[in-house]
């Protein structure tokens, strides 16, 4: 957002200011014209005034000191002074008690210095006569600073310096280009305070040569250039601007260049109309042609840069070549130089959208382009040209040609809107009358065209580019009425709405995981392209950002694992090695290798990441710590899946040759691959400079959410006690737990309720090449307590099936 810094003293020339700066800032801010900063340079010069040395006597106790009687306006002060050059009749700068002299970097250890009444060698001194060094305006330490004799006694030093002013820095919203000027702010104050503002009167002496003989202007594209006003001023003297003008420009952060350019910039600040001054003698044929750039044309702007033009850009040209980028910047070939004598002044109105496009495409934003983009008042074009011409005559000694050229091909049509009082009240919750509404609109310079009961037809003033429909007027009325005067209604009537199914599922999941000892993390949605091979969906392509902050943030993440690695790395670097982390976030991929152009090319998925590293339990008394392994993760995932999807999932191991993981399990829910458990390889760990195992799990949220929404139906638990038996089988090493489990379940025992592996052993106790797997099986019958014979029979079936299916031998039962 552009800011504008203005001087209150200057502002008061256009509108009466009857509030303190603080109150004015508050009132403006609460009308939407935000004052971001107030500063008063004068504050640092408080209690420093101009005085006159009336009498000077030698100090009774010190030859080198003088005792002076100094008139400071309201009274006389006795001041002891050590400077040799002090003399009666001098006008000097006096720091009275309470003054803070600026830090001069030397005398007072770099701190500002507060003046107090003091006794110096037995004589009371009520202040200090300042040297240039003490005022921080020169290096002269020995003598006091003497000011011209015509400065009245008692004048504040700030006023003497011309710094007795307060500055407001406004933050201007993009809809209000009209506020980017003194006129605009004065107009707003007048509307808010119900007073009036005024433009300066213009009068200057015109020469005898009619302007038509001096120059010619033609507009070839009247859509992009809606008005062009030109004046010619001859015989100007290039020089420095007067101090007041320099002060205004400097306070607005605009560099002063010379009187000509400074005047155009000042009038832009004053009126909001950007102006450009050409060296008249450098314009071929003394002609201005406004046209589109030609294909392949180039142009050197006055910042010295060669610009490549395209045909949609609008150019100001002379008889043969471009001389300015319309509304943005002039060219080197026609700029004001130290030897410029005659000037052609441009005041024009360009289409906002076109200026913005050109400015964006060239990457060139100026005070001028910022105003044109937001819309410049088309009724100001002529006034601003004449105002600048007046100042050129006044401060550059020029002679204006007679008249002005004003090319205005298509007369603007005033926008007419109708305001309904009822609608206004219905939107604001107010009870404003027709009269109230008209009053506010009038104060804002809307022209009332027709008044009917409940309806007001108005014409929008030409400076308001933001008023397009009735609703915009409602805001204007609300601003003037005051947002804080509108009722705060503490009662609401609303229709009951059904929440979307599963709207709080992620929250539920987060609670479950934090209960399971996981800390939630949030990582970047973008990462380095080198991570893209980790993608969750291997057949999809990563999505890249056209204008990233840097290469390391140039790809949209296609997995949450890279963020997990970064978080683990950062924590380990700070000595925190035992981590259980989780994140829920979106990953992105695209089905096309080309730049995706539609959302249908994009896949955006919610994913859960779990990360385990370090010890399985916190280090501490009573915990036998061991490093986590993939089975810790499996356990967490198992319980999670069981919670949300009952038994409709499986964790499948594939022999992976992948360089991406040491071990990998694929998670299937209802037969669809929905996640993975991965242990990073030692090569990866080396790359990331991590010296401990990391296990990740990535899991899609959607199937879990679906599982959580399943209908839950009660199954009556058996009234009879469970019977458990432990079975240990000897199997070949190559036989997996899954195979044995499957064989147990496949024995089709109706009473089988649960099977849990409680021990897996290979070693001295079993034959080489074999291992022992021990299970607890739980049986239960709904019909009655199972008797031993029945249990034996069922267990027998199980054992037989395992022996047959897995080549197992029963080692023991119990």
């Amino acid at each position: 957002m552009p800011n504008i810094r203005i001087s209150l003293k200057t502002l008061s020339q256009y509108v009466p200011i009857d509030l303190s700066p603080g109150d004015l800032a508050e009132e403006l801010s609460f009308a939407g014209l935000e004052v971001a900063r107030i500063d008063s340079p004068a504050d640092q010069y408080q209690n420093i005034v101009i005085g006159e040395v009336k009498k000077r006597n030698i100090h009774p106790n010190a030859d080198k000191l003088s005792v002076c009687e100094v008139d400071v306006g309201s009274e006389s002060r006795c001041i002891v002074c050590g400077a040799p050059n002090v003399a009666e009749g001098q006008k000097v700068v006096v720091a009275l008690p309470g003054a803070n002299l600026p830090d001069n970097g030397n005398d007072h250890g770099g701190k500002s210095f507060k003046i107090k009444p003091t006794k110096i060698r037995g004589v009371q001194s009520e202040g200090m006569i300042c040297s240039g060094f003490e005022l921080k305006i020169s290096d002269d330490k020995d003598g006091i600073h003497i000011v011209p004799s015509d400065v009245p006694v008692g004048t504040s030093y700030a006023e003497y310096l011309g710094k007795n002013d307060t500055y407001f820095e406004f933050e201007i919203t993009p809809n209000r280009g009209d506020w980017l000027s003194y006129f605009g702010i004065a107009r707003e104050i007048a509307a808010l305070r119900n007073s009036s503002w005024m433009k300066p009167a213009i009068s200057f002496h015109e020469g005898l040569t009619p302007i038509e003989q001096e120059a010619k202007v033609s507009i070839l594209n009247s859509t992009l250039c809606r008005r062009y006003v030109a004046t010619v001023v001859r015989n100007v003297k290039i020089g420095e601007s007067p101090q007041w003008l320099k002060n205004i420009l400097e306070s607005a952060g605009i560099r002063t260049i010379n009187n000509i350019v400074d005047i155009t910039n000042f009038v832009m600040l004053e009126t909001g109309q950007p102006l450009h001054a050409f060296d008249y003698d450098l314009l071929s044929k003394h002609e201005i042609i406004v046209r589109n750039a030609k294909e392949g044309e180039t142009f050197k702007t006055l910042d010295g840069k060669e610009r490549q033009l395209t045909p949609e850009m609008l150019m100001i040209c002379d008889g043969v070549r471009p001389v300015a980028l319309a509304g943005i910047m002039g060219g080197e070939n026609s700029e004001i130089r130290n030897d410029t004598v005659n000037i052609l002044l441009e005041s024009a109105n360009f289409l906002p959208q076109n200026v913005r496009r050109t400015s964006k495409n060239l990457g060139l934003s100026t005070e001028s382009s910022q105003r044109f983009e937001r819309g410049v008042d088309i009724s100001m074009t002529l006034f601003a040209a004449r105002r600048a011409t007046q100042l050129l005559c006044e401060y550059a000694g020029g002679i204006a040609a007679q008249g002005t050229i004003d090319v205005f091909p298509i007369a603007t049509v005033k926008q007419v809107l109708t305001q309904s009082t009822e609608r206004t009240n219905n939107i604001l919750g107010t009870v404003l009358s027709d009269k109230d509404i008209r009053e506010y609109l009038k104060r804002l310079e809307f022209e009332i065209l027709e008044e009917e009961e409940g309806k007001t037809a108005i014409a929008v003033p030409s400076h308001r580019y933001d008023i397009l429909s009735e609703i915009d007027l409602v805001e204007e009325i609300a601003r003037l009425y005051g947002y804080n005067n509108i009722e705060t209604k503490h009662r609401a009537e609303f229709t009951f709405a059904l929440p979307a199914a599963g709207e709080s599922f992620e929250d539920e999941l987060k609670d479950h995981l934090s209960g399971a000892g996981f800390n939630e993390i949030l990582t970047f949605s973008m990462n380095d392209p080198s991570f893209s091979s980790m993608g969750f969906a291997p057949r999809m392509h990563p999505v890249s950002v056209l204008n990233p902050l840097g290469k390391e943030l140039s790809h949209m993440r296609n997995s949450l694992i890279p963020g997990g690695i970064a978080s683990i790395r950062a924590n380990i670097a700070r000595g925190n090695r035992n981590l259980r982390l989780f994140e829920i976030g979106s990953i992105f991929s695209t089905s096309t290798e080309l730049t995706p152009t539609s959302l249908s090319n994009i896949s955006e998925k919610r994913l859960l990441l779990l990360a385990l590293t370090g010890y399985d339990q916190p280090i501490g008394y009573g915990n036998n710590n061991r490093p986590v392994d993939i089975f810790d993760m499996k356990g967490v995932v198992d319980s999670l899946l069981r919670k949300y999807t009952l038994d409709k999932y499986s964790l499948n191991c594939y022999d992976s040759e992948s360089a991406l993981s040491e071990y990998q399990l694929s998670i299937e829910i209802h037969g669809v691959t929905s996640g993975r458990i991965i242990e990073l390889t030692s090569d990866q760990l080396t790359d990331y400079e991590i010296d401990q195992k990391i296990i990740f799990c990535e899991l899609e949220i959607e199937p879990l959410k679906k599982g959580s929404l399943r209908e839950k139906k009660y199954i009556a638990p058996s009234k009879f006690p469970d019977v458990t038996r432990d079975l240990a089988f000897i199997v070949e090493n190559s036989t997996s737990n899954n195979q044995v489990m499957k064989a147990i379940w496949d024995s089709k025992i109706a009473e089988l309720r649960d099977v849990v592996l409680f021990d897996a052993y290979s070693g001295n106790q079993v034959e080489a090449g074999k291992k022992s797997l021990a299970y607890t099986v739980t049986l239960n019958s709904d019909r009655g307590t199972m008797i031993e014979e029945e249990v034996q029979k069922k267990i027998g079936f199980i054992v037989k099936n395992v022996e047959r299916e897995c080549g197992a031998v029963l080692r023991s039962t119990g």
């Binding site: 009951f496 939630e520 204008n547 008394y621 009573g622």
Partner: protein, 336 residues
């Protein structure tokens, strides 16, 4: 005889009652219940009772014996349990066996707290994609093409037409396109701005968007709803005010300020010495936005608001650097 028995009962009861130690109790046992004790003496005496009275006295005597024995056993139990047993020495200052404690990220916690307030006011929740198209993120929200309003939100682009959403407002569009009015919904989510990462600004952050569209919804309802939110979230004593501002998708638009919760309006670094903190942006839904989603702008009105979560959490927890939220330092996370 009967009186004598009652006398015995009374003295036994009294003595038993007064017994303080097992040793004292033992002497009572010896006195009354031992072979040479008083009770036995009465049984001895029974021999001399006339035959016809024997059953009655015998019964009395048996009852007495039973009562006395029971009372004695109870007292014995009591004294035994009071007696100091030598205990196994346990150092109870040893720590418990710890398990990892999980935490919910402060951003999530702040979002939940805000959501909960609006849910109690009848709002439901909706979400939308983080990767959006220009239409949902800008055009439908009344950002004119080639207008400086687009500069308010520096955008990460994927292509000419695709981008990372710069605010949660596109979810408003998505929700209204798929739901008939009235709607009353909050939309939490992650958003992106192409801004350098510093202590005060980040390229990614979170927002909660709110939207209420119905017949007869006014600016006064907007103020009431948001004032209620502010009082619940920041405390009932908080003062508030609204300031005109500009958003393309609301008209009138308003920033909401609350009295500074850090300094209590005195002025501090956090409120930039103004005594007031900006907490959210809001406004009445622009009729163009309603028309863009196929709602009738002449019939319906509504308000919308957006709350920055990071900023809110920073205020709430006195966090001075936004980057902490995404560094995931476990020592930071464990504090929430």
């Amino acid at each position: 005889m009967k009186e004598q028995l009652e006398e015995l009962r009374r003295s036994f009861e009294k003595e038993t009652e007064n017994a303080r130690t097992l040793i004292e109790l033992e002497s009572i046992r010896i006195k009354y219940l031992s072979r040479n004790g008083t009770v036995s003496a009465f049984f001895e005496h029974l021999k001399n009772v006339p035959k016809e009275q024997k059953p009655v006295v015998g019964k009395l005597l048996n009852e007495l014996k039973k009562d006395v024995e029971e009372r004695f056993a109870r007292k014995m139990e009591l004294l035994k349990s009071n007696e100091q047993k030598p205990k196994e020495k346990l150092d109870l200052t040893l720590p418990g066996r710890h398990r990892y404690t999980g935490t919910i990220h402060p951003i999530t916690q702040t979002m939940r707290e805000i959501s909960a307030i609006f849910k109690r006011m009848g709002f439901t929740t909706a979400t939308g994609p983080e990767l959006e198209d220009d239409w949902h993120n800008f055009e439908a929200l009344n950002f004119p093409p080639d207008h400086p309003a687009r500069d308010m939100q520096d955008t990460f682009f994927i292509s000419d037409s695709l981008l990372l959403r710069t605010h949660t407002s596109p979810v408003q569009i998505r929700h209204m396109m798929t739901h008939k009015p009235p709607v009353r919904v909050i939309m939490p989510g992650r958003v992106f701005r192409n801004e350098a990462i510093s202590a005060r600004s980040h390229m990614q952050f979170h927002q909660i968007e709110g939207l209420c569209v119905d017949e007869h919804v006014t600016f006064a309802d907007l103020k009431g709803t948001l004032a209620h939110f502010a009082r619940q979230f920041y405390g009932s004593a908080v003062k508030f005010k609204f300031r005109p501002t500009f958003f393309p998708f609301t008209e009138p638009s308003a920033d909401m300020y609350i009295s500074c919760i850090i300094c209590g309006e005195k002025g501090c670094r956090i409120c930039k010495y103004s005594g007031w903190l900006e907490i959210l942006g809001s406004g009445m839904v622009h009729p163009n936005v309603l028309a863009n989603v196929g709602y009738e702008p002449q019939k319906l009105t509504g308000f919308a608001f957006g709350i920055g979560i990071e900023r809110t959490a920073m205020l709430k927890y006195s966090i001075d650097d936004i980057r902490l939220f995404f560094e995931n330092d476990i020592r930071f996370l464990r504090q929430f």
